[in-house]
Symmetry: C2
Subunit: 510 residues, 2 copies
């Protein structure tokens, strides 16, 4: 059956099947969050576990290994596939990315993978209950076991290398702890100082201007309008309500956003939708020619987050954007007609040191991440025991943000991630923040000041730049190489720190 | 890995995976009809084709064949599995149903299966275009090829047996052409006569009473209310809009209905929802103990249709039902307050010989089916050529219903089924009609007259009877045995003909 296919052709056939399985899994997940009736849970869990098993099987299949070997030989001989005129360097990158995923699937013993999957499920339930009861101790043994299993997994994946790097690799291929530590040191110092200055300034941002009574239908209409304006294609996507907003790519032509709203505050809906639409633009912009191949995917969570934060914060919170968008807001909500760019803008940049990461502002958000990055590294280095984690958490918040949780639900139990075994995940949020600013500055350096375009509702020049520099490369270049190529340097906090300081100084009159 | 499982345990593990794959496919289909953005089609088709291939692979797997063999040996030795206390007869039925499906998958050569799948896709497109252009001739070669391929498929499945029975078997396991022919003869004669009498009576049913201006939201609210009242569990299901209403079981706990509406007529929404909810009650009532096993499924399309038609027509079009339901209709649509049971009821039983099957009333519907049953048998028997089909169609309509299509879109091109290769499918609609009446009469014979319960909105006694007699047996008993057990005799047109004559005589004063 395979005799007619060249090795690259066969690789793409096999990978297409793997992507089809992923696509089905994504749809089942989306449906579970947005549509599924409560009693569908048992059947859905079974179907998802079945599909995950098949996906693992296909990644571990002997034929795929053989085909990758045959493709490697073509690469070594310096030729792609003459039939298809495949570029040898591209083929090499395809093989490398495929191998990376195959390795992640094959290196972890099956028994460990199964125990991890089970612990994710029981650990999640234990976390939910512990948070509900505001009691860390009942959750402690699950977290201890999770860290033990994740350490085993990291050891299997690291091949003698650094453990935390193996954890990072799941979300941010190629990035290392060594690269991240100085970034976070710099952020901790600069943002800590900035936040202190805002507190000491005694200035209070008036956020009352944006409060009102906003029916859901209007919020959704406005959000859709903004998402469409920045380029999201609703013929290749849709938007639905969910408790926790997300974006999911079922296929290149089917990218789905979700949103949530608060009745008296437009910001969760508007900036949530801009954020998810930013993710969605990336998914819709992935290269058609590499669809269903290893390279036809996003680079990493960090680069994905750079797209969402760029549109949400650097575009969506700009004065120029609201010069264009405010008339639409007024049309949708006539009672908000007194809202002006000058009353709105400060409310989009208020700094409020707080306990909860997902409610944090742009200035303090990365301090929340820095705390998690420190604590999880200590846990894996054996420098912190799980039983001491709650106190370490509260102390870190007090030291860095000047706030202390009154109960663990507002502290160490607030995030779902660790209960699912996602260690090395939080740093990608900060990576996204930094990369967003770096890309935005590079775009402006090439395109000229974009404010005038935004004032006219013209976002196409920026999107076209992102398509060319980021989206259309799929995951051919990993994070640092992509940034080097698109911005002329590797990841740096400079652009973000300059942006956040300038903005904050203006808002707080520093 | 399989050493710890007994053969029956392993059978159910393997079958669970097959059902999980089906469940994923069902969800992808549902999503395509109700949610998917237009540009998602390409990716969706790929994912569905991949899942269908995996499903076929799993049915043909050597291990499944071996396990079925081992289970058969246990059955022959007169024991199920001592560990589980499995009933030997039940195990025998499980093995028989599994083998039936395995045979359907393995007996058809892979090349033929693939060509059929391709022709379904191209044939569907050709049918859509031909209907649009009202031109049968462009579609003719596709239908000819489809009949040729379906003949080959039926030959492969029939093992020297009767070809049309092999076609029927896909939808109605065990039923034969020989059983159906006399039923349709009787229906054709009795219904033809009844329809003639209504035409000759000169009586016109006043359907104006039910016409009005009904916003969608009210129609959906009313439909949901009725579906819930007859027992549909929305914690284990949901309802969405779609162009063509259907019911789909994703899992026992996740059964989905769809509906459509007409602004000026409540009937499409109300009776459509009752119809699909009848299907849904069956899916929600399948035996929990056999979930994800071969027997944990519905018997056939015909028995499925008996459940939908029973609730839609025999319950939903009864006076007693509307004595209870009308106040809710009045609450939902205050402008319809003049509607009474006595003005409404005749409008639910009007007889109007017409060209379009899906718009047909209860009396003429089965004549539409009879025409298709005759024509498709002739096509497969070689007694009718495809090029002569349009004329044969129009002549049959004129003879039986006194109407003649002015163009093929209202005639031979109106149904999608043949373009998908579904021959032997149409008879299941009539089988459902007959079985519905037969089951309803048997229920009343056991439970006493149900009208008083319906007037109180009590549908639980009827549902409980259907659960016990039909739903909870899964597909352990095939159609004729199930009817014999639940109604004391095999399929007969008598109850339906008595019902439709009595009702029609009253409405038309015959």
């Amino acid at each position: 059956m395979t005799s007619v296919s060249s090795p690259p052709e066969r690789l793409f056939e096999l990978w297409g099947e793997i992507k089809d399985l992923l696509s089905a899994q994504e749809l089942l997940h989306w449906d579970q969050e947005t549509q599924m009736p409560p009693r569908g849970l048992e059947g859905r869990s079974q179907a998802l576990s079945m599909l995950a098993g098949l996906h693992h099987e296909k990644l571990c299949a002997t034929e795929l290994g053989d085909v990758l070997e045959a493709c490697s030989e073509l690469v070594e001989e310096g030729r792609g596939s003459s039939q298809e005129g495949l570029d040898t360097q591209v083929l090499a990158a395809q093989v490398e990315e495929a191998r990376r995923q195959v390795n992640q699937a094959t290196k972890v013993p099956l028994a460990l993978a199964k125990e991890l999957a089970e612990l994710q499920s029981t650990g999640l339930a234990a976390w939910l209950e512990a948070r509900e009861r505001q009691d860390f101790s009942s959750y402690q043994p699950f977290l201890e076991r999770m860290i033990e299993l994740k350490r085993q997994q990291a050891e299997a994946l690291a091949d003698g290398g650094h453990l935390y790097d193996a954890l990072l690799d799941e979300f941010e291929p190629g990035l290392t702890e060594q690269e991240l530590v100085p970034l976070f040191d710099q952020l901790r110092e600069a943002l800590g100082e900035l936040v202190r200055e805002t507190v000491e300034s005694g200035h209070q941002v008036d956020e009352g201007a944006i409060e009102g009574n906003y029916p859901d239908s209007g919020q959704l209409a406005l959000g859709r309008h903004l998402a469409e304006a920045i380029g999201f294609d609703f013929k290749a996507g849709r938007i639905d309500a969910s408790a926790h907003p997300f974006c999911i790519g079922i296929s290149r032509g089917d990218v789905r956003l979700t949103w949530r709203s608060e009745r008296n505050d437009l910001r969760p809906a508007v900036f949530g939708i801009l954020h998810e639409a930013g993710h969605g633009l990336y998914e819709q912009g992935l290269p058609a020619e590499w669809d269903r191949t290893p390279l036809g995917a996003s680079v990493s969570l960090g680069i994905h987050e750079s797209q969402s934060r760029l549109w949400e914060n650097l575009v969506g919170r700009s004065r120029a954007f609201w010069h264009w968008a405010l008339p639409e807001l007024h049309r949708t909500f006539p009672e908000a007609r007194d809202l002006t760019v000058e009353t709105l803008w400060p409310a989009l940049h208020a700094v409020r040191p707080s306990l909860i990461r997902v409610e944090a502002d742009e200035a303090t958000y990365n301090l929340h991440v820095a705390i998690r990055f420190d604590l999880e590294r200590k846990l894996f280095a054996g420098a912190l025991e799980v039983k001491d984690l709650p106190l370490a958490w509260d102390d870190a918040y007090e030291a860095l943000l000047g706030v202390r949780a009154e109960n663990p639900a507002d502290g160490v139990l607030q995030d779902i991630h660790w209960s699912l075994g996602s260690f090395g995940y939080f740093p990608t949020y900060t990576l996204g923040t930094l990369a967003a600013s770096q890309l935005f500055e590079a775009a402006k350096a090439e395109l000229g000041d974009l404010d005038e375009a935004f004032r006219q509702g013209e976002f196409q020049p920026l999107l076209a730049w992102l398509r060319e520099k980021v989206h259309l490369h799929g995951c051919r270049f990993k994070t640092q190489e992509l940034l080097q190529r698109s911005t002329g340097r590797t990841l740096s906090p400079d652009d973000f720190l300059r942006y956040i300081r300038t903005t904050t100084e203006e808002v707080y009159g520093l």
